[in-house]
């Protein structure tokens, strides 16, 4: 099952001096080609910035309580710390140098996978969904199931169901309109959204890779096709 979009977040304890310090580390990136940005809540303690690297198909969301990345494309590109994700790791390392930074407390990942199916097979699944024991209707137009699990340090949320064109917008699956996801338009099939949250005091590239591997494993081990 192909991962279409990934979001990774690192949460740290609030940096009260964030507004005064973040511009210095962000401004050198403005020399990059095709970079967009937006500042929100300007001149307040909640000031934050979105940086969109249109060529790299990544968006960074940097704020006083955490940093996030959204990536659309083949996730193997993220398994190289000097790849497209380098600005994320560099900025995070420099945020850690801020005077007001104390420590991180959590990292989390959200991946969206879609397996496209032929229309006939898709309609057959909607007619008699093999995943649902109880079905109050004869014919379904859509369905979804959510599985949640919690351990001492981790939380899992696994959401799967039918995929149709509506989900493309609902889940904002192709924010960069990449070739990687061009087949999703007008396609039908099955969709997985897998979210893992873990308590983590010292997040880094190695731990991110483990988290991504875990998410990939969950997505591939769950046999969706009948």
């Amino acid at each position: 099952m192909l991962i279409r979009k990934l979001q990774f977040n690192i949460d740290y304890f609030h940096i009260l001096t964030f507004r005064e310090q973040y511009k210095e580390i962000i401004s050198p990136y403005f020399s990059f080609e095709n970079l967009s940005y937006e500042i929100e809540n300007e001149n307040t303690i909640h000031e934050r910035i979105r940086l969109v690297f249109n060529n790299e198909k990544i968006a960074l969301f940097i704020r006083k309580e955490g940093i996030s990345i959204v990536f659309e494309g083949d996730v193997t590109e993220l398994k190289d710390q000097n790849g497209v994700m380098k600005p994320f790791w560099d900025i995070f390392e420099r945020i850690k140098d801020f005077q007001g930074y104390s420590k991180s407390h959590r990292h989390s990942i959200v991946v969206h996978s879609v397996e496209l199916l032929e229309q006939e097979k898709y309609e057959e699944i909607l007619k008699t969904p093999p995943y649902l024991v109880l079905n109050p209707f004869k014919n379904l137009t859509d369905f979804a199931c959510v599985y949640e699990s919690k351990s001492q340090e981790s939380e899992y949320r696994f959401h799967f169901g039918a995929y149709s064109n509506v989900d493309l917008n609902r889940h904002d699956l192709s924010p960069f309109k990449t070739k990687h996801n061009s087949d999703l338009k007008d396609g039908t099939g099955l969709l997985i959204r897998c979210e893992i949250k873990k308590a983590e005091k010292n997040p880094g590239f190695g731990k991110f890779k483990s988290l991504l591997n875990e998410a990939e494993k969950i997505c591939t081990e769950y046999k969706l096709s009948t």
Binding site: Q7, N9, S27, P28, Y29, F30, S31, F32, E33, N34, L35, S36, Y37, E38, R50, V52, N54, N55, E56, A59, F61, E65, G66, S68, V70, E77, D80, Q81, N82, G83, V84, K86, P87, W89, D90, E93, R94, D97, S108, V110, D142, A144, H159, G161, A162, Y163, D167, R170, H171, D172, P175, F176, L191, R193, E195, K197, G204, F205, G206
Partner: protein, 180 residues
């Protein structure tokens, strides 16, 4: 399926459309100019009748909005594959000669792995070449082509590189200890 993208109340959906674009990348689509209008003007010039003001004023050639409106939209398209960024490297200058610059490149931050790589010095034109200077290198590729961008040290986290005060290292080395 239900829409569920927010992870928590403090985290927002990412909408990419509202942001401000800083630098415009190379355009990927080009279209020939409006030949219909051009022919009309030429026809007017070649004719024995004087060119009417209407023809000139109405011709989009004489209106400022002509180029942005028409040049980049249309049916005939020549498209180029976009450059794909595949590697980004923080680096420190180790040595330089007439035509070669040797950089100490950070390969793995967590395990402090560095690699020395040599580049043509012409790539660094406009930069101060001094041992210890930092650079940020971006590598791009597309079919049968590769491109390197050199950026200044503002993008580099200096703490990632070990301090190399060679004078201290040498002076404290046992090799140079005087024996009584």
């Amino acid at each position: 399926m239900d829409k569920d993208f927010n992870l928590s109340e403090s985290r927002d959906n990412f909408k990419l459309s509202k942001s401000t674009t800083i630098a415009i990348s190379e355009e990927n689509e080009f279209e020939p100019v409006d030949f219909y209008q051009k022919e009309a003007v030429i026809e007017g010039v070649m004719s024995s009748k004087p060119i009417s003001d209407d023809l000139l004023l109405n011709s989009k050639y004489f209106q400022n909005e002509y180029i942005p409106d028409r040049v980049f939209k249309g049916h005939e398209i020549v498209s180029f594959t976009q450059w794909k960024n595949f590697e980004n490297v923080s680096a420190r200058l180790v040595s330089y000669f007439d035509e070669e610059v040797v950089l100490e490149c950070l390969i793995d931050r967590e395990n402090s792995v560095f690699e020395e790589r040599a580049f043509r010095s012409s790539l660094f034109e406009g930069f101060k070449l001094e041992v210890g200077e930092f650079f940020y290198l971006r590598f791009f590729e597309r079919q049968n082509e590769e491109r390197i961008e050199i950026h200044g040290g503002d993008l580099v986290r200096k703490e990632d590189f070990a301090k190399t005060n060679f004078r201290d290292l040498i002076s404290k080395s046992k090799l140079f200890d005087k024996k009584d």
